[in-house]
């Protein structure tokens, strides 16, 4: 082959000699000058979410799943008449999620986590994304299931989505107010209080005349939008407060 022949000619003679002492010196200098920083391999947020999911308590998913299945069962058995009760139970879905969300604070892990590459803020973000996504899926499942059981979409949104959004906004507000030092018992108490409150509102106020009225969908849309806006506002405030500068949490030595 002519290629090989040229190669043979080009490689005539020995390869250049390498002075081993110069080589060692160069390697030594390169390693010394390598820097006092370490590389940070990129880890995508999806990969980090996947990793974080493995460290969340399985009870989170089990209990949330059980609550949703209970609601679905109740709907299947009792029909649309059970919607007010479901609306009262929905706040508990979010409550369970928040117990997991603030576990780092409850267990005193936030200082350790804050000093890591993916710090406390990122831990909270990942948990919010994970738990929030699953919660939304569960809520949407309930919505879809209820419409399939003959419940009108407007009614379903009013009894499922609105309590969920409002309860989550309240939980964020509680975390803010207590500087993330609320106990699990405190959160559960808040969840139960909301359940009772929604039960009262849905059970004692004649929403049927509002919901089934001609402007019901616009009214429900408006209420849902307000609930969503409150939740977004609460998340924003919460996110701003997860900062290194938090004089109320850190006691000084």
């Amino acid at each position: 082959m002519k290629d090989k022949e040229l190669k043979q000619i080009l490689q005539t003679g020995r390869k250049p000699e390498i002075d081993s002492s110069r080589k060692e010196e160069a390697i030594r200098r390169v390693l010394a000058a390598g820097g006092n920083l370490r590389g940070m391999p990129r880890i995508s947020i999806w990969q980090r979410m996947y990793t974080m999911a493995g460290y969340l308590s399985p009870w989170l998913w089990i209990v949330q799943g059980a609550v949703v299945l209970l609601c679905a069962y109740s709907l299947a058995v009792n029909g649309s008449g059970t919607m007010p009760t479901i609306g009262a139970i929905v706040p508990l879905i979010g409550c369970i999620g928040f117990v997991e969300l603030q576990k780092g604070y409850a267990c005193g892990m936030q200082e350790l986590e804050s000093a890591c590459r993916y710090d406390n803020r990122q831990v909270i973000l990942l948990k919010l994304l994970l738990i929030g996504s699953v919660d939304m899926l569960l809520t949407l499942f309930l919505l879809a299931f209820s419409t399939q059981q003959g419940v009108g979409l407007t009614e379903a949104v009013l009894y499922i989505l609105v309590p969920y959004l409002l309860s989550c906004a309240l939980y964020f507000a509680i975390l803010l107010r207590t500087n993330r030092r609320v106990s699990n018992v405190g959160l559960l108490a808040a969840g139960i209080f909301l359940a009772v409150m929604f039960q009262f509102v849905f059970g004692n106020i004649d929403l049927d005349s509002w919901v089934i009225g001609s402007d019901s969908s616009r009214w429900v849309l408006g209420v849902t939008a307000i609930a969503a806006a409150l939740l977004i506002l609460a998340i924003r405030k919460f996110w701003k407060r997860i900062d290194r500068e938090d004089t109320k949490i850190w006691s000084f030595d």
């Binding site: 002519k2 000619i9 080009l10 005539t12 390498i18 002075d19 200098r29 390169v30 390693l31 391999p41």
Partner: protein, 183 residues
Amino acid sequence: MQEQILTDEEMIVRIQQGNEAYLESLIRRYYDDVYYFCCYKTGDSELAYDCTQETFLKLTRYIHTYAERKKFRGYLFSIARNVCNDYFRSKPQETVDSDSLLLAADPKDKIGESETAQVVQKALAFLGDEQREVIVLRFYCDFKVREIAKIIGVPLPTAKSRLKRAIARLKEILGKEEDIYEG
């Protein structure tokens, strides 16, 4: 350390995790090859030491952002190429009397091996920078044309034609007449 059984990819993962011992292994694995490349590219063995060191210094700085882990050798040589180009620009190019080279119709038959090596080196020096580097990458470093295109940062057809022209020129200088290019 199990450097014999770790691929470049595996070593890079460990280096990026901060295991500096693997960085040394990686440097040792490629030091000689990079030195030879720098030698052939610049034609100056002294300069080649500097270029090689600078290549690995740059590698050490950039390795943590290196994501395309499977083609590390090409990546390393592209760093070496850029380093040599930077250094080489500051050095005057050796002028070669091409007539004297053309008279040696068959250097392998008529002149001894060491003289052949010198003629080859001068022939390479007589090539332009761009042509010389594709010859070195192809025939000394055993890169495929596709890899060469990536190293020098040109489209594949450009790399092919540059190599073809370089080989033709080299043939002319060395006095060979057969078509020896096989893309």
